[in-house]
């Protein structure tokens, strides 16, 4: 059993709840700052980092722009190497293929390498419905699974849990699904990791079928790559007889040599290491070594939808390093659950709408979950311009509501503004009204902005949402056009009606 994101409320509602959880905020602030500093230190070691980013972006962009060719090449290379290639249009098809492979070997359990794609398609729940237990073997995924919780970070899905919570989960739940945690378990991370080692080892040793994802799929050689730290990946990729890998179609790179910039960019961006402890690569079946039956499921599930989006296509370059999450001021405060998806943070705020469209309210709220500060773009190893995609996605959300029978207040306001701005006389009248409002506010408002300008406090009605957290400066008493008319374009004495001289110099 694990939780599900289905039915999550829209971002503002979920974020409000998360912000009220002080334990969560303290766990997140500690974790994101730790990993952010580690990344910054190892990236600073690499003088040629910017050129490396350009090369990495280029490799992925080139693969995406000729994706059909590379997918056909990949399929041919994999088949030649002894793998069976499956194609899945959506989550249901992918889950059915994995379940079918498991059933064909008569197993009631599989071991899993941490994989974003299998989380995205809800594989564990689908297998459970088929009577097959899917054991997560990554430590953080294990914590999430045992806690019947949801992942909240791409790299460290249990980032929202602290050591005391992990200890409690292990003590309470490990015994239900296998070897129990030792009774004298402490909350030392090394001791907790030791308990996970003992708990999972029996599962690794007996598992017949393993399920993985892949970080990269090399078209010309049919090689899949899994980048990991703990060795649970190696266990799953090596010991079972059967291996099924669910691979998003955007994971393709054209050539073996293309792995070079990627394997230099990913570890430094992700865990803040020069190189992650273990990287496994395999091309189909190797006689006498590792799984002798190898399946690869090539997954669409919205990726072709994203591919058709001229601005958003670049999001498919993502290598799931999670650097953008760790630097995001929004993520740092609300955590991953508020995004309602296995892909949280800045990349999730663009990837979910691109994969799924913006027709549901929850997904449509995600492009607004950003201050557009741009930190995510700066750290992205494959140079995804997340802020630009966010802005474009916001436009798509607005466009999707143009046909609404009852228009949103914002749409009405924009329409009124367009009507006013399109006629000089109407604009003049509006400016006069705004000048009057400025005078009234100047007299009664108690809020003063730096520089002496007065501002409105919280306004009533529909404007409350905006003004509750922001100051609305009082409009100037005189508009530019009024000033121009009065001073004849600045050629007369530049005095306003109150008699004080404005501007400086001559």
């Amino acid at each position: 059993m694990s939780g599900t994101f289905v039915g999550m409320p829209a971002f503002p509602t979920a974020a409000r709840a998360a912000l009220g959880d002080t334990q969560l905020r303290s766990n997140l602030a500690h974790a994101t700052h730790t990993i952010r500093d580690k990344r910054a230190a190892v990236v600073a070691e690499v003088e040629e980092w910017e050129e490396l980013r350009l090369a990495g972006a280029g490799v992925k962009e080139a693969a995406l722009r000729d994706l059909a060719t590379h997918l056909e090449t990949l399929e041919a290379s994999l088949t030649r190497a002894g793998a069976t290639v499956h194609w899945a249009r959506d989550a249901a098809e992918a889950c059915a293929i994995v379940a079918q492979v498991a059933h064909s070997h008569g197993v009631d359990e599989v071991v899993k390498v941490k994989s974003m794609a299998t989380g995205e398609i809800g594989l564990n729940e689908a297998l459970e419905a088929e009577g097959i237990a899917a054991w997560e073997t990554d430590l953080a995924e294990l914590i999430v699974q045992l806690g019947e919780d949801l992942p909240s970070h791409i790299l460290v899905p249990a980032i929202h849990r602290n050591r005391a919570e992990v200890r409690e989960i292990f003590l309470r739940r490990m015994g239900d699904v296998g070897r129990p945690a030792p009774a004298d378990l402490t909350d030392e991370p090394a001791v907790l990791a030791g308990a996970a080692r003992e708990h999972l080892r029996e599962k690794f040793l007996r598992a017949k079928v393993a399920v993985s994802g892949a970080n990269f799929a090399v078209a010309d050689t049919g090689t899949l790559v899994v980048v990991e730290s703990e060795g649970n990946g190696r266990m799953c990729l090596t010991l079972p007889e059967v291996l099924v890998s669910v691979v998003g179609i955007e994971k393709v790179v054209a050539t073996w040599g293309d792995l070079d910039p990627m394997l230099r960019l990913l570890p430094r961006s992700s865990t803040g290491e020069r190189m992650n402890p273990y990287t496994s690569t395999w091309s189909g079946v190797t006689p006498g070594d590792g799984p002798q039956e190898v399946h690869v499921v090539l997954l669409d599930n919205g990726r072709t939808r994203a591919l058709a989006d001229d601005v958003g296509r670049q999001a498919l370059r993502c290598i799931r390093c999670s650097a953008c999450l760790n630097v995001c001021p929004v993520y740092e405060r609300v955590g991953g659950h508020a995004y309602g998806s296995v892909y949280p943070g800045p990349i999730g705020a663009i990837l979910n709408p691109l994969l799924n469209g913006v027709s549901d309210e929850q997904t449509a709220s995600l492009p607004y979950a950003s201050s557009l500060c741009g930190a995510c773009f700066e750290v992205c190893p494959v140079r995804i311009d997340i802020p630009s995609v966010l802005v474009d996605q916001r436009a798509q959300v607005v466009d999707s509501h143009r046909g609404d029978r009852i228009p949103k207040a914002e749409a009405v306001a924009m329409k009124a503004a367009a009507w006013t701005f399109s006629d000089a006389r109407r604009l003049g009248l509006a400016e006069r009204a705004s000048g009057l409002a400025g005078r009234v506010m100047g007299r009664f408002s108690r809020t003063t902005l730096p520089g002496g300008r007065t501002a409105a406090g919280r306004l009533p009605g529909p404007a409350a949402g905006w003004t509750g957290a922001r100051d609305l400066p009082a409009p100037p008493k005189e508009s530019f056009r009024e000033w121009w008319a009065r001073t004849d374009g600045g050629t007369h004495d530049d005095q306003d009606e109150s008699g004080t001289t404005k501007g400086g110099g001559s």
Partner: protein
């Protein structure tokens, strides 16, 4: 229509107006780091692996010292006498789990990142033997050490299964606090032969 044709059709439709030609800038090279073997040594140790330098004639002794009496499995093509070691002839995972240590050679060492790459030739053995035992003693010849990742990629054969190892297994999943030793060998001992 099959899922395959459907997906490829959608990909082509999505890219109908997109030129496939993109100029991909060449990945840059790191600046020359001087003594590669020294850098390799330093970077491996940085990830809390144990590094011992030895000569070709002193190798057998170094292996024995690294094992410290632990019961070891060796690949069939190790090319070195190790007293009391079991030669792998397709041991089961459970049998490997009862063995303390493994001794292998390596295919390539990468100085910049402190990485050892195994390509699982007969002198390194199947992937399972260097995974299940808790101590991995890995013999790397100084002549196998290259500067950086691109050099390793150029030397390695993608048709072979590859395992890139940078230090012992590790996790940072609890409060981002790094712990060495989870599922893979908890101790990595590199014998650097000159």
């Amino acid at each position: 229509m099959s899922a395959r044709d459907d997906i490829l059709g959608r990909v082509r439709a999505a890219l109908a107006d997109v030129s496939p030609a993109v100029s991909v800038p060449a990945a840059p090279r790191a600046p020359d780091r001087g003594d590669l073997v020294a850098l390799f040594d330093e970077r491996i140790a940085d990830y809390r692996a144990v590094v011992t330098r030895c000569t070709r004639t002193g190798l057998e002794e170094a292996v024995a010292a690294a094992l410290g009496g632990a019961r070891a499995v060796v690949p069939p093509g190790l090319g070195l006498e190790v007293a009391g070691a079991v030669v792998d002839d397709g041991l089961s995972a459970a049998e490997l789990d009862a063995i303390d240590a493994v001794i292998t050679r390596a295919a390539v060492g990468i100085a910049e990142t402190g990485t050892i790459v195994l390509d699982h030739q007969p002198d390194q053995g199947r992937r399972a033997i260097s995974l299940v035992p808790d101590l991995h003693v890995c013999i790397v010849d100084a002549s196998q050490v290259v500067a950086d990742v691109p050099d390793a990629i150029a030397l390695l054969d993608p048709a072979r299964p590859l395992t890139w190892i940078s230090g012992p297994s590790a996790t940072s999943d609890i409060e981002l606090d790094r712990v060495e030793g989870v599922h893979g060998p908890r101790t990595l001992h590199v014998l650097l032969v000159e």
